[in-house]
Amino acid sequence: MSLIKPLLRAPLSAQFGLLVIVLYILVALFAPVLAPFGETEVVGEGFAPWGGQFLLGTDNLGRDMFSRLVYGARNTLGIAFLTTLLAFAVGGFCGLVAAIRGGWIDQGLSRLVDILMAIPQLIFALLILSVVGTNATSLVLVIALLDATRVFRLSRAVAMTVVVQDFVEAARLRGEGLWWLVSREVLPNAAAPLIAEFGLRFCFVFLFISALSFLGLGIQPPTADWGSMVRDNAVLITFGDISPLLPALAVALITVSVNFVVDWVLHKSSGLKEC
């Protein structure tokens, strides 16, 4: 319906970005169908060349590179998405409540977030992951917690601009409860910047996970993950072997795409105000 039109009018970069995102989602959803081999299945000799039986060759343990790339989409996207979602659920909700309730709830949450944000993210993650151990669950929880602070700030700021509007005051005076204020009055009107932020956060989480993987604390093998796939093979770059660039490219492509789309969304939402 009305979604198609703006898409057709969108700039080339945004269209490209959307196409890539859809493609990635499809790959992630249908990974078992698309991948010729299993994720951790050893199917041949290590470092088989491209072409032939193995489209992109095999990795060091003789697992099919292409299959792992495909499964990597699922794992990496999945974990990053889950993390971002959680961060938004927690940070977003707290931000909205803080903005709506104000008073000591707002003060308390804001100061807490200030303090948490004063601890460098990577270092905090490092500490907590050392405490709770590195596995997918703790990874998601830790990064989500760290990111929730950033989301909190934004959602609070955005909600603040909504909360001061008269229709929220009207709802308050009607005697509406907190849940109604959050879900019906404020959230729908804060959605656009939050969605854009979701995209940016997603990219950030994605890069953060690969940085953690690079330091050995991210998604752990044998799970296929682009971050650690890059890291495991990074040294080959020195020798002009482009295999490790593929997962890196996959990371870059999705983040660039999401950024393109977010950029367009932001531009569009600000552009509407112009005339």
């Binding site: 050893v42 050995g216 044998p222 890291r231 495991d232 040294v235 080959l236 770059i237």
Partner: protein, 533 residues
């Protein structure tokens, strides 16, 4: 895999695993030293031209940590070993052929029961601060590692030592609790460097030794700078004018540094890149075999593995050749379920190599009264890079024998304190020991702190004690042969692989042949042994 992981892994395993004292040693002759001739073996057989003096040796080494210290008792990895071995000397030195030869000790004698060892010191050796070496320095340096309060990594190495005392100015006597025929090898341990005595203790803070190089600067985890000591007592050594050690934890960064000419030598080459590095005509790959071995320990007192047939079934269900190819890229040797590395002077060469035999595995399962087996293997890369991969490969191979291995990945952090030696089936690794006695004593003897399989074999324990004090070499070897067979056929550990350590050097530097197979980087002594090409 990145060595960054190694670094963390290293740290993790340090929290629970013994520093198995890197007594990397293997040689063919069971030479028990009585008295050695003086002088040093020259690199007479070297095909290279005569060593050239001067130049800088720059090394990019894994195994440096910000927590490193000058205290020899705390040294735990390659960086400090290599760096300080150029600053200090030890009483004895492991020579090119793997035997212990005199260094600061001119000669040594032992009592017939190998309990009392007397080391006579070399005359006229001075420390970098001008002080002349005497017996008091040696006693202080050794005692630095002893005593209840000692936190030294070398404490267990010297576990036998009851007393160490000076005999005049130029001799030191060690009195042991029980006989140890290998004691001359024990004092070659690179923790046991000789420091000047000061205020009744050894002065480790100053970084002053008798070695070929003075310590110019040491920033833990970053770098160490050395410059040649002008009056080094050892002839034909210490050719470089200075040396520079950089701690490079990241494997890719090490390779880059070598390829771009930032450093001349790197260690722990990422095995994936060895083939690519070989294509570079300016680089040489240096492989040191038998540096460490990997194990799958099974607790022999656990319900699951108390039946030796089950253990044998698993030992037959692993394809060692495949593991060697995929985990080590061929840079290693296959193991025979005992910890003595192939090519060691203690090896039982008559012992038949165990192979991958699913049928035999099934046979042993039937012997144990079961048709199939389901076991849980708790694996972690804390043991060694690729331990989880190896476990997964093992799982695939064992399936052929009707054994279902459930590989559970354990976090590296705390693996050696919480899982290893506590769960029935895990992954582990050992640095190879200088002597068979030491390896067996710390890992296989009843009640040993790191007996990782809780193995208790009466015959084995009896042989171990007997061999330790046995000065008759052939007799001793016979005992070792039997012990290896016992490990292989009744022990609790699957020992599938011996891993090489792989280093690389630029052709800008040269050497007269490696002290293989002992330690990485020419027995860790490349600084004083190598020279500018």
């Amino acid at each position: 895999m990145s060595d960054n992981n190694n670094k963390i892994t290293q740290a993790m395993h340090d929290s629970g695993l013994p520093r198995r004292d890197f007594l990397k040693y293997s040689a063919t002759a069971a030479a028990i030293a009585g008295a050695f001739s003086l002088g040093l073996p020259l690199h007479g057989w070297a095909e290279e031209a005569t060593p050239k003096a001067g130049g800088v040796l720059r090394m990019g080494l894994a195994g440096g940590s910000t927590t490193d210290s000058r205290d020899p008792g705390s040294w735990s990895d390659t960086f400090t070993f290599v760096g300080f071995s150029a600053v200090y000397n030890t009483l004895s030195e492991i020579s090119v052929d793997g035997t212990a030869i005199p260094e600061l000790a001119e000669r040594w004698e032992s009592s017939p029961d190998a309990r009392i060892w007397t080391f006579t010191l070399r005359q006229g050796v001075t420390f970098h601060n001008g002080k002349t070496l005497d017996a008091g320095d040696v006693v202080a340096s050794i005692q630095h590692h002893l005593g209840d309060k000692s936190t030294s990594a070398a404490k267990t190495v010297l576990g036998d030592v009851a007393k160490v005392q000076a005999q005049g100015n130029d001799a030191v006597v060690f009195v042991l609790h029980s006989g140890n025929a290998d004691f001359a090898y024990v004092v070659a341990d690179y923790h046991l460097v000789i420091m000047p005595a000061k205020d009744g203790g050894a002065d480790w803070q100053a970084g002053v030794g008798t070695g070929g190089y003075r310590l110019k600067g040491f920033e833990p985890g970053v770098r160490m700078d050395l410059e040649r000591s002008p009056d080094y007592w050892k002839a034909g050594r210490a050719h470089f004018a200075s040396a520079e050690l950089l701690a490079i934890a990241d494997g890719a960064a090490r390779v880059n540094a070598l390829v771009t000419g930032q450093v001349d030598v790197i260690n722990k080459v990422d095995l994936k890149t060895v083939a690519l590095l070989k294509r570079n005509p300016n680089l040489v790959i240096e492989e040191t075999k038998g540096a460490q071995h990997y194990t799958f320990p099974m607790l022999t007192d656990s319900q699951q593995f108390q039946d030796n047939n089950i253990r044998l079934a698993l030992k037959h269900a692993i394809n060692r050749e495949t593991l060697l190819a995929s985990v080590l890229y061929g840079y290693g040797q296959i193991g025979n379920d005992h910890p003595i590395q192939p090519g060691s002077r203690f090896i039982n060469s008559a012992l038949e190599q165990r192979g991958y035999d699913p049928d035999k595995a099934r046979f042993y399962l039937r012997q144990a009264g079961v048709d199939s087996l389901k076991v849980r293997l708790q694996a972690s890369d804390a043991a060694y890079t690729g331990a989880v991969d190896a476990s997964v490969l093992f799982k695939e191979q064992a399936r052929q024998a009707g054994i279902d291995i459930d590989v559970v990945r354990e976090p590296a952090d705390g693996f050696f304190s919480n899982v290893w030696m506590k769960q029935p089936f895990t992954t582990s690794f050992w640095y190879s020991s200088l002597t068979a006695d030491r390896m067996f004593s710390i890992g296989y003897a009843k009640g040993a702190a790191w007996n990782e399989t809780h193995w208790d074999n009466a015959r084995f324990n009896q042989l171990l004690n007997a061999a330790r004090g046995e000065m008759n070499a052939p007799l001793r070897q016979e005992m070792y042969n039997e012990m290896q067979a016992l490990c292989r056929d009744e022990g609790g550990a699957i020992v599938p692989l011996f891993a090489s350590s792989v280093a690389a050097r630029s052709k800008r530097v040269a050497h007269g042949g490696l002290t293989a197979p002992y330690g990485e980087l020419d027995g860790l002594r490349l600084i004083e042994r190598w020279w500018q090409a």
